[in-house]
Point group: C2
Chain length 413, copies 2
């Protein structure tokens, strides 16, 4: 996702928040991943906003997108220049209203923002079935880190929810790769989710989406500094990672939004340069985004998280190849949202999931929002999206606290 | 463009062809480029098929796309595994019928297929206004090669046409970046073109098209082997160039064509690998195309040719900012063709040029062809395209030989 929030006034803020850590498992008692490989201990960085009520039924789990983190809203310190990444959506009086809801957001495993990932120290000096001539004990995993899946990410989040003493989430919400986690939650732990809000997402990547991710990965792995993933002591593959990020940014915008935002305007000049400097604003924007990303993100994490997104396939993993069957166990209410100009996860993909949900008799609200901003639209201010999310959460809060969820669950089983 | 022709039966072939060379100018008497810089001598590699008639009015100039070459049709030797890149279109009895037309195709300057470009020896050891501490005399230009434009390419082609003793081309035809050259011909040398066929092209790159090219260039320049463009003695930036090509291939296909061609099918396996090998066929395809390209193309040329395409802006260069005005000098008949799934140069861009042509009272035929294959569609077998081109050429041949062109030209002036 882009970082449009740079210039946004995000309004009333949830205030100061704190990054916390939850750890489970160990090298001796690891978690078994969907790949069959082991991982332990597993740390999750997470943050919360608002208060868990006495009935413990007002928790909303927010799942972040590809390169996001647990810092969903608020500030760590009063003078932080920027609040969390979805501060326009999460806060007092905002659509995900922290006066009403207890909001939780954790960094995914495989990430690099506090949760266990390829840059974490490897306590076993490589996994038990991995190479034995690797780096010294406690050195970063690098590519000895096991490939994780969206399912693995959600399984870890469930451990966190257990740890927080929450039986059932009022809602799970997220856009893009976060939306994949939402879908996964809804079919993997149907008894633990009252409502699910998959936004600007898909049940499986198209060949084109895989293609963009693959080229981005190739850009990283082609950088000699990547060094097979062992670069933490020698210097990071900054060039490759910047190129990978630039590719991503093209897919987050749209032809129309790029025309609106940049068209063919020149950067700091009146004439073409006739050299290979950035002539056009769009070139400068991409270079800026690429370089900025490099300072905050780990290249190996990028490889793992894009791979997890490419592997995600709800119908194969939960429906034996049938999208309809993959929702057979779901019981929650859904709000599915797509955006007209999102060509990374186009509306036809949202419509396919909605159709499959409805064939299972599920309670589904679907809205395609007219927006020119491409895939990024779910992160941008949009009164329509705000109203949809606020209204939907209000409705399910009433239904869940009235016990309709339990009845519905029993019925559905 | 992709190389779908690998598996195509291209039918009757024009037979054996020969790559020829035409050289003009010298280091002492160079050509002045649109940038103001000098280039000389200039060599153009070119090929011809068919015969120039006595009236010298049956010549068709074919302009190749970004990474094409002069080898448009036929074979160099009987046992060549593949014919030229547009053999399905050019040959005896084919839409551009070599029994009727004398077909000419030359490699653009800035290219690497025989015409002067950044890998050519620099006779002046860097241009006169360039650095003086460069490599030895006669070493390749590298990035000391001047940035060239579509206009420069066309000016060189005009010198070739002069050399061949052709006053007026019956037609200029080309797709993609070749189509830009067609447009440029039609407004720069209106008295020398009877008909113009810009296919799957645009009068100026969108911000999104520039963005894709810029990321591809960054991939090349981020490769340490690129070495500021001086890699001819040290080893080429193969990794960067392969990534650049992969990006291109995504834009040449479409969401639909990728789904049709690859969907999520796995490559040589039944299960996901849970590593960073190519799991999906689309990944394998991109890697294959990237690696294949590296063996035939020069990375610096890729930089120069994409830059020329990004710089192309018919309305700025010929219409003082007005697309309508840019066609004011044109006199030819146009056949403009776009393809429904081409998202690199979408139909709205062709419609804009058609509208501007019509406002000048020009004779324009326009067709948007329904095709799922994305930008590549213009290179693929398509009976509709064949019929359009064959019919259009037949019509203009009758009109031109009847002298209607001259009358029209006089009238338009």
């Amino acid at each position: 996702m882009s970082e449009y929030l740079d210039d946004l006034d995000t309004g009333p803020c949830v205030g100061l928040v704190e990054k916390q850590a939850f750890t489970f498992g160990s090298a001796d008692e690891p978690m078994t991943l969907e790949s069959g490989r082991s991982l332990g201990p597993v740390a999750l960085a997470f943050e919360t906003c608002g208060s868990l009520n006495a009935a413990r039924d007002n928790a909303v789990l927010v799942c972040h997108a590809l390169t996001g983190d647990s810092h969903v809203a608020g500030r760590y310190q009063e003078d932080d220049p920027k609040p969390g990444w979805w501060d326009i959506m999460v806060g007092p009086g905002k659509p995900i209203d922290t006066d009403k809801y207890f909001v939780i957001c954790s960094n995914v495993i495989g990430g690099c923002m506090g949760s266990t990932g390829p840059m974490s120290p490897d306590p076993t000096n490589g996994p038990t079935d991995g190479p034995t001539d690797g780096p010294t004990k406690g050195a970063p995993y690098g590519t000895r880190f096991p490939v994780v899946t969206i399912g693995d990410m959600v399984r870890c989040q469930r451990r966190l929810i257990d740890h927080l003493g929450i039986d059932r989430l009022l809602a799970v919400v997220g856009g893009s790769v976060g939306g994949m986690q939402v879908l996964e939650w809804s079919v993997r732990y149907p008894e633990r989710v009252c409502a699910a809000l998959p936004l600007a997402t898909t049940t499986k990547h198209s060949a084109q989406a895989i293609a963009f991710n693959e080229v981005a990965r190739q850009a990283i792995m082609a950088d000699p500094a990547w060094n097979g993933g062992d670069y933490y002591a020698t210097g990071r593959p900054e060039h490759g990672l910047a190129v990978a990020r630039m590719i991503g940014h093209i897919t987050y915008l749209s032809d129309e939004s790029m025309r609106h935002k940049f068209d063919r305007r020149l950067q700091d000049r009146c004439e073409l340069s006739f050299d290979f400097e950035a002539d056009f604003q769009v070139e400068n924007y991409l270079r800026y985004q690429g370089n900025k990303f490099v300072s905050r993100f780990d290249a190996n994490s990028f490889l793992y998280l894009t791979k997890a997104a490419d592997y995600f396939n709800l119908e194969n993993q939960h429906g034996d190849g049938s999208l309809v069957a993959s929702f057979a166990r779901a019981r929650c209410r859904y709000l599915v949202v797509s955006f007209t100009s999102d060509w990374l996860y186009p509306t036809y993909q949202s419509k396919a999931m909605v159709k499959a949900m409805k064939k299972n008799g599920l309670d589904v609200s679907f809205c395609e929002i007219e927006a020119p901003w491409g895939h990024d639209a779910f992160l941008l201010p949009n009164p329509r999206l705000d109203a949809l999310i606020a209204g939907f959460l209000d409705r399910v809060r009433g239904q869940c606290s009235a016990g309709e969820c339990e009845e519905r669950g029993t019925h559905a089983l």
